[in-house]
Symmetry: C2
């Protein structure tokens, strides 16, 4: 890992230099053996455990500075590392080492009438840029996922986590060294200048894809200025639709879990749609649970009539990602009305139907155009670990390339391979 | 098919209106049955056969106008339809009807420890924009591929093919009508104003992907101004590398075919790399064939020494897509040197190695970062039909999403589907 300290900085030249080095390293990484990549990951984990004290004291510097700058508790929480988070970071690296290497896998190899065999080989994307905010553990996670998928990466962490990120970077450097992989495989941008992000996002020649991790304003800003492809989602306005043919107990369990299991994740339900025929039976017991847990309920007129504690929802509520104990509830007359509501107000992230009716479940699965669509399960399952990806670098609501949770496979693409025995075209 | 004739045009409003209509139609198309889509395709084919005379006379108008405008023969060739090209167009539609419908296909459905089943469903991209030049058959081909893959499309053909395109569009309209699919599923932009392309390419809200078909200047212009993703390739500087362990007869056959079978396709070889150890044996008989066929040879110093008729290549030759009977030839000292040459000068389109050595073939396959990489086969096989895609809308050298020949699957993406039985997250 290169960690340049550049006092008098020609920023564009510096970022270009980082890009050019990453491009060279990417070719080495693409051809690196699974064993070399795993050695780098395991040696990085060992170095992180070994350097835990130093890492925690570097993090302490960042935390003190953040407190002195008057940052709030939530911010400090995201920034702060504990002994347990340091070992979780090391375990994360070990776990990524244990995942299957996707690179080089050939699939669907078939003979064609001409006699050639045609298939596809999974290959790294090349150079991945990661832009993130205050969580220092992203430094280790993102580097590990890129490394395992054979990509070089360029990391741009938040300035608040400067010392923490550099301490983690030192361990990555040790890991790469032990595996005899190029230090430029993982580079940390050594400037807090915000303009660096804009330069990275428009450097098509050296960056193949950008993954922003953090709050919506960061992602919006990057998406707006980027000319390189960005793997991202902006909003998670997730819906659960309770069909008229739902099992009421199951519906209550899922609607409760989708909202209250945790309020801040992007896959938490923000709007509950209930079929009019089941609402009188379903909403009173379900809303009792919500109210006991302190969830503020905002409903349309029909819902407010059923539940007196509910306040009237405005049109804005249907498009709001609360990330908080607030829930919008709407009563709909049909499956079509539910699908229409989701198409109009949703963010194409994750939606679920609760229904015992086969045809309705199949229509919802097929017609709802979101990155994850579920039947009889909580939206909270939309997650790389729950889907079996082993780890995730983010969730995408893009339509092209990776959709939904993005793991190692989302950091690769497929090229065509042709195995012949002298065939020519006639 | 909507075919608005707009005398006093507010162009941005008109293009937005087309986009909004396409977006609405896309939802219908995404849920359309395979049968409805096939009916539309077969009825369009029938209408094209039925209206062949009218189509040919409309085309005649375009051809006369092009001749009057002093267009060259190659241009008129691309524009002109014959009775045989009209039936080929109809056959193309019938053939796309016979392909398997990719939409709705669920793959890799697996149980997870939580009890949910997780898999992926293939879904349309939504709205596809196609911008093309003088070939009128693209109107039918592109509409058919988009329709079969469940996408709405917006077509922008060349102004020179105005009458031909509108005549074909009438048949598509009849096909959609017969299948009770919305006319807005296939819209032809009814203006020759060039600014329409720029508007289409930046209308992220209504266009999910753009496919330019035509010459490099068209594609370059669109790629430069587009904010929507573009499926494209700019250059096809394809290489064949003759390894020291090649079978000489096979190498001659492949190198001959890759260059001379046709000169204008993008998958034709433009640079031949030959291992120094085999060059004295290989180049004299191979170059004799080229010279007999009138191919101009441009070589590096070592190659020129072997073949007196060769002229010296400049650095520019290594990056030039001739699309003509000209070939650049370079002698390299090793497999590594060949891979380096391709990485430095190539266009990531299609490259082939000719070798009987297993390790060299495997390294070439793995390390060459092109959309198609071949062993012992002619680069001319890089084609949707030869790969078994049934048809192709273009060839992509993008790294994200579709790479290489793009067929129906490249016009779709995959969303995650979760089938549960009441699971919640703990």
């Amino acid at each position: 890992m290169t960690n340049l300290s550049v006092p008098h900085l020609d920023l564009p030249a510096y970022i270009r230099e980082i890009g050019a080095r990453a491009r060279v390293a990417a070719r080495v990484l693409a051809g690196a053996s699974t064993q070399a990549k795993n050695t780098a990951l395991l040696e990085t984990a060992a170095a992180i455990r070994r350097n835990a004290d130093k890492l925690l004291s570097s993090n302490g510097e960042d935390v003190s500075a953040a407190r002195a700058a008057g940052q709030d508790n939530a911010f400090v929480d995201r920034l702060m590392l504990k002994a347990s988070s340091v070992s979780a970071m090391a375990e994360g690296l070990e776990q990524i080492a244990s995942l299957a290497d996707p690179v080089g896998e050939i699939s669907d190899l078939k003979y064609r009438p001409s006699g050639i065999q045609v298939g596809r080989m999974r290959v790294p994307l090349g150079v991945v840029g990661i832009v993130y905010e205050s969580r220092p553990n992203v430094t280790a996670d993102a580097a590990a996922l890129c490394l395992k998928s054979g990509n070089a990466c360029i990391l741009r962490g938040g300035s608040e986590a400067w010392h923490s990120n550099h301490a983690i970077a030192e361990s990555v450097r040790a890991g790469l060294l032990a595996a005899e992989l190029p230090q430029e495989a993982v580079q940390l941008i050594a400037t807090t200048d915000r303009a660096a992000v804009g330069l990275l996002a428009t450097m098509d020649r050296y960056v193949d894809v950008l993954v922003p991790r953090g709050g919506k304003s960061l992602i919006r800003r990057i998406a707006d200025e980027a000319t390189v492809p960005v793997i991202k989602h902006l909003d998670g306005v997730c819906h659960v639709f309770i069909d008229e043919h739902a099992d009421v107990d199951m519906a209550i369990r899922i609607a409760d879990n989708a909202k209250t299991q945790r309020y801040s994740p992007c896959n938490t339900m923000e709007t509950l749609l209930v079929h009019a025929k089941i609402a009188p039976q379903l909403l009173p017991p379900l809303c009792r649970i919500y109210l006991e847990k302190g969830v503020e309920l905002r409903g349309d007129a029909a819902a407010c009539e059923l539940i007196p504690q509910m306040v009237a929802a405005t049109d804005e509520d249907w498009t709001t990602e609360y990330l908080a104990p607030i829930l919008a509830i709407r009563i709909v007359e049909s499956l079509d009305a539910a699908i229409d509501h989701i198409a109009r107000y949703g963010s194409q992230h994750t939606e679920a139907i609760v229904s015992e009716n086969y045809a309705n479940a199949m229509r919802f699965l097929r017609e709802v155009d979101s990155s994850s669509v579920m039947v009889n399960a909580s939206t909270r399952f939309a997650d790389g670990f729950e889907y079996g990806l082993g780890a995730e670098i983010g969730i995408s609501t893009n339509k092209l390339h990776a959709r939904g949770p993005v793991g190692l496979e989302g950091l690769t693409s497929q090229k065509w391979v042709v195995l012949g025995s002298g065939q020519i075209r006639s």
